[in-house]
């Protein structure tokens, strides 16, 4: 395909759970003629919406995996990445945001800006993604688009401006007024596929005029020509559109559209807006780092003539094998081409190439520049950069958060265990925040992830996709050990009882490291320890970091300085010094004020004001540090820092205390020292070997 880069739109649709974005995406696919009939998401007629092709998603009514789909509208080519709304799956959202150029933030006309919208918006800010807002569900009882726009301004700090006004609301919602063209739009046909343009109803003329004034005021900030035209009272639609686009690309303006995907209203104008106002691949500046030239930054251009550069952002094991979704930032990718994986340094040949439609695919010969496509049978990891052989360019990494909760899983017999390992291998390759390892002490397989729901979903998948039902232990938070003061070591490892022996002495100190996990400093002078053995000392120290003596948790934040030592002409060896380092570490560690740290989460609970007292109580019972309270009329939001260990099952507690009307989001904040009593308890349990009961509150 030789689409001009200007006509490509790589967008994401991000939103709060249940704001109807899956229905919206389904409608988009329908109107762009990719699917043949509209099926309701919850499967009333037995067939679920095309996007949610995992059974699981259909049942839970939520979208779990991101899927990329391709469609076209008005000679533009749109790659839509559907993203999940739940905070436990933020890696999926991060992944999508990394490769998109623009986004549509879907909000519910009744619920407005809710806790998840805040998280999603913050993520979009982190990746500097220009966006539009779509206020969905205008047909529902309680719909109040004006209030939502206010919330966009207040809570998310957007310069939000309405491009449309609703004609009627709730059951009465009939269509929208396009304030740029100054026309009323109605959606006819059994699925709203015919857009009918009419004169604005007389009774709405005044409010339309006022709203348009606000629109023009906001838009003319971005275009002098428009400003002049507005002053002379003759602004043209194309001038307005140009100004709006500029505002959006600069991320200083958020145009707001309205509709009801369920009732088939407002989707086509949204598509028009995506094409008009969201950026194409050439509108966004992308940089890579040149490994050959000391990580110098290189600007990339989506020019088909330039050498290819692409990012593998999602791996998926499908029916046909391993699929790798890539975003092409420069040049094109075509079948038979040879590319280099910058991380591994290995070249590979591009086999089959396709464009993805949710659950269906079209094979193609080559991608466009700036496009998103999927490759078959490429062995790589999520986040790898591909470029032309002869270059070594790296695209910046995604922000991958560390897992904070783990669970031991035990398969029944040897066959089940093999199956489990295979399954976990596949699942962990797809999702860098989901990890699996074998615990050295207990020999158990431990899976870890971003939250309870995250792990629950994977357990479900193990059951459905692999037929595995492992025994599951208690969830455990990822504790860490750290030291609080400096301690010296001076240790000799000696085994000289005839024959070849071992000898090595190391001396120095451990001290807390402010930033980072581990730093080794070699301050040996005068060959006190021969140069060739120093790396072994480092290795020995590192070994100790994996499992701390207090509770077997990883140790972090340590600087080790080696300043003296001694060796033996014959008996010193790599092994000797490694053992010496291990001994030295253990010697100093207990003197270094070791402590246990637990993950602390930033929790935000949004609740109707009348339950705020109870909500505070539930947090207070969980060793929470209340940071603030924001009261906004009928609602209140409580911000607190709460230990993850106390948050298990919080969803249930919150639901019962607030009759299901409150919700909360949780994200990792930092690690903090455990209170002495709890630390003591954990240590005792560990000493007794009681790993299975390791849950502290």
């Amino acid at each position: 395909m030789k689409e001009a880069v200007t006509r490509i739109r790589n967008i994401g649709i991000s939103a709060h759970i249940d704001s109807g974005k899956t229905t919206l995406t389904e409608r988009i696919l329908y109107y762009t003629n990719r699917i043949h009939a509209i099926h309701e998401v919850r499967g009333r007629d037995g067939v679920g919406a095309t996007m949610d092709f995992l059974d699981l998603e259909r049942e839970r009514g939520i979208t779990i995996q991101s899927a990329a789909t391709f469609c076209s509208w008005q000679e533009h080519f749109i790659n839509i990445i559907d993203t999940p709304g739940h905070v436990d799956f933020t890696i999926e959202v991060e992944r999508a945001l990394r490769v998109l150029d623009g986004a549509v933030l879907v909000l519910c006309a009744v619920g407005g800006v809710q806790s998840q919208s805040l998280t999603v918006d913050r993520q979009m800010n982190r990746y500097q993604v220009p966006r539009l807002a779509f206020i969905n569900k205008c047909d529902r009882s309680g719909a109040d688009p004006q209030r939502v726009v206010e919330q966009l301004r207040q809570k998310l700090d957007h310069n939000a401006v309405l491009l449309q006004l609703p004609i009627g609301l709730e059951a009465d919602f009939q269509g929208v007024i396009d304030l740029v063209a100054m026309q009323a739009l109605y959606f006819d046909g059994c699925s709203g596929e015919q857009v009918r343009r009419e004169v604005i109803p007389a009774e709405m003329m005044e409010s339309a005029r006022q709203a348009r004034e606000q629109l023009l005021e906001a838009a003319s900030m971005f275009d002098d020509e428009l400003l002049e035209a507005v002053l002379e009272d003759r602004p043209q639609p194309d001038q307005i559109q140009r100004a709006l686009r500029r505002g959006v690309l600069r991320r200083e303006l958020t145009p707001v559209l309205l509709g009801s995907a369920f009732r088939n209203k407002g989707v086509q104008p949204l598509l028009d807006a995506v094409v008009r106002y969201l950026p194409g691949p050439a509108d966004v500046s992308v940089r890579a780092r040149d490994v050959e030239r000391d990580q110098a930054e290189v600007e990339l251009h989506p020019d088909p003539q330039l050498p290819p550069v692409a990012l593998a952002f999602k791996l998926e094991e499908g029916r046909y094998g391993q699929l790798t979704y890539v975003r092409v930032y420069q040049g094109v990718i075509r079948r038979g081409q040879t590319l280099l994986n910058t991380r591994t340094g290995r070249k590979f040949r591009v086999g089959r190439l396709c464009r993805m439609h949710a659950a269906r695919m079209e094979e193609i010969e080559a991608s466009a520049s700036g496009d998103i496509v999927a490759l078959f049978g490429v062995d790589c990891a999520s986040g790898d950069s591909f470029c032309a052989p002869g270059q070594r360019l790296l695209l910046g990494s995604m922000h991958v958060p560390e897992p904070v909760i783990s669970l031991a899983v035990t398969a029944g017999d040897a066959t089940a265990r093999d199956k489990l390992n295979q399954a976990l291998g596949k699942l962990t390759r797809e999702d860098p925040t989901f990890r699996a390892r074998v615990d050295a002490e207990s020999g158990q397989t431990v899976i870890s992830g971003m939250g309870e729901l995250h792990l629950q979903v994977y357990l479900e998948r193990l059951r459905r996709e692999f037929g595995l039902e492992p025994e599951v232990g208690q969830p455990r938070v990822a504790y860490r050990e750290a030291i609080t003061r400096q301690a010296r070591f001076n240790y000799v490892h000696k085994k000289q009882t005839g024959g070849s022996g071992q000898y090595g002495r190391v001396a120095g100190y451990l001290e807390p490291l402010e930033e980072g996990d581990y730093l080794f400093e070699d301050r040996i002078t005068g060959g006190a320890i021969p140069r060739e053995f120093i790396p072994s000392c480092d290795k020995g120290f590192r070994e100790c970091l994996q499992q701390g003596p207090l509770i077997g948790a990883p140790i972090t934040g340590i600087r080790v300085v080696l300043d003296w030592g001694a060796s033996h002409a014959v008996d010193s060896s790599d092994l000797a010094f490694r053992q010496a380092a291990i001994g030295a570490f253990r010697q100093a560690y207990s003197q270094a004020g070791p402590v246990i740290q637990e993950p602390i989460m930033k929790v935000v609970v949004e609740t109707p004001a009348e339950y705020s007292g109870q909500v505070l109580a539930t947090l207070n019972q969980r060793r929470a540090l209340i940071l603030g309270l924001a009261e906004d009329g009928a609602f209140a939001a409580v911000e607190a820092e709460v230990p993850l260990a106390t948050m298990f099952g919080y969803a249930t507690v919150l639901r019962s205390v607030t009759q299901g009307k409150a919700e909360f989001t949780m994200e990792f904040a930092c690690y903090r020292q455990l209170p002495a009593a709890l630390a003591q308890q954990l240590q005792e349990e560990h000493a007794r070997g009681g790993k299975k009961t390791g849950q502290s509150t």
């Binding site: 207040q154 402010e514 705020s612 007292g613 505070l616 109580a617 207070n620 540090l625 209340i626 940071l627 603030g628 309270l629 924001a630 009261e631 906004d632 009329g633 911000e639």
Partner: protein, 234 residues
Amino acid sequence: MLDDELVKKNPLRRLDSQQQGLLPSGNLGLVVAPAGTGKTAFLVQLALDNLLRGEAVLHLSVAGKLQRIRSWYKELLLQLAGGQATAGLRRVEASMQSRQLIITFRKPAGLAARLSERLQQLDAQDIFQPTVVVVDGLGSGGELPGLLGQLAGIAAERNLSLWASLRQEAARPRNELPAELLAACAVVVYLEAAGPAVKLHLAKAPDLPSPPPPLLLDPQTLLLQQPPASPSRQ
């Protein structure tokens, strides 16, 4: 170390001849100024001063945002420490965290009643018991005299030091707040933008025979521009 700096530069300490705290517990203090002069910075400095002395401070903001207010505290504390984000500063911040709580009300309607209810709730559940409360963002309006009276009542009832900021119309010259407003306040301070500095006028305070000369404050931090050579305690 941080404390000494603060003592030298904080204008209220300087004015506090008795060294008992300019605003005694159980009373209401008012800081008045036109928009943009520095009321919020002033209140945050005041709060930080108390936090550094080990007090628990509740910061109530009308129409403010939690994140922004937190940034204020972070920034001003950093400046107090000389602009260096050291480990020592982080420890100070960490120790302050449990003695600090920020509440925002979107609208001022029923402020006093709602504040009282919150204080009661936080106390009853043993979550937070402030000794100092700062209320930022009051504007002039018809219900103001009543509101100040109510705030003074809350301060007295709970034995708090309660400071409030009041936005004054720029047109009105200072010292022209009506007596009925000032009646409820034990301490009244005016801030006035004066070229490269901000002038602080102490208009009313307990045991104040006559208003002292105005102090000159740095417009960014609302601290004294130069520490006094030798503070005289009289």
